[in-house]
């Protein structure tokens, strides 16, 4: 008895919704960054699950996951740099208080 593909996709969907809710609801910019990482990871799980259980031809899904890793690393580095430089301007990390650039 193996775990069906649907179970992996369901876990991935749940984690994606959790991350989405976090991005929408939380106030702290660092926590919002964490929730974006959760969403990226949920997408990774779906990609790996489909690649391993569906397509028996090649490793395309896994290659996409490697690129998602790269993009996640770049995103978190630049995101934290933006948060820290905004924090140095004015010491708040709450996204509803960072509105210097609001038009």
């Amino acid at each position: 008895m193996t775990v069906p593909l649907g179970a992996y996709v369901a876990v991935s969907a749940v984690l994606f919704f959790i991350g989405c809710a976090g991005v929408l609801v939380r106030r702290n910019a660092v926590v919002i960054l964490m929730c974006v990482e959760l969403m990226l990871n949920a997408a990774n799980l779906a990609l790996v699950a489909f690649s391993r259980k569906y397509g028996s031809i090649d490793e395309r899904g896994s290659v996409f996951v490697v690129f998602v890793f790269v993009i996640a690393a770049a995103e978190v580095a630049v995101g934290l740099a933006i948060i820290l430089s905004a924090y140095r301007n004015r010491p708040v990390v709450d996204v509803d208080q960072i509105h210097q650039m609001k038009g």
Binding site: A13, L15, I18, E37, L38, V63, V65
Partner: protein, 175 residues
Amino acid sequence: MTFDFVEPVVFALLAIGVIAGGAAVVLLSRITAAALLMAFTFLSMAGMFVLLGAETLAAFQVLIYVGAITVLILYGVMFTKFSDRPRALFFQRQTPLAVVFVVAVAIPVALFSFSFTSAPPRPGGGDLSALATSVFTDFAFPFEIASVLLLAAMVGAIVLTGRDDPEEAARRRRR
């Protein structure tokens, strides 16, 4: 005696780990604890990759997510000050509406996700050689683009956080 029941049990434990960790990241108000639970979620996810037979990706997951990204986020947590305002931004007054919306979206998604069925399992063995072949043949150009992206992110992070203090720059020039 067979051990066929092991895989679903391990999967259930990992799924509980992933979902509980993710929920804790959203719900906890202590940000350090949230960051550590995010690392726990990433570790459970690495276990799921192993269960799926993608050991190389599990290793990358531990190195990049649990190692690098969690440490970077903890760095950000330590550098910034917590605010004692309520942790949620909005939706406080629209909770019933939000619950209705989430349930209306989540139930079709769950039903849809269980409708996928697996192909027959492929022969065992590591995923590294197939992955490497794919990356360095079909995806060689995106691989190069990714390296340029990482370089740009590195330069961008340095430029954004670098201090452009005129006094300090003058002192450095004098030295």
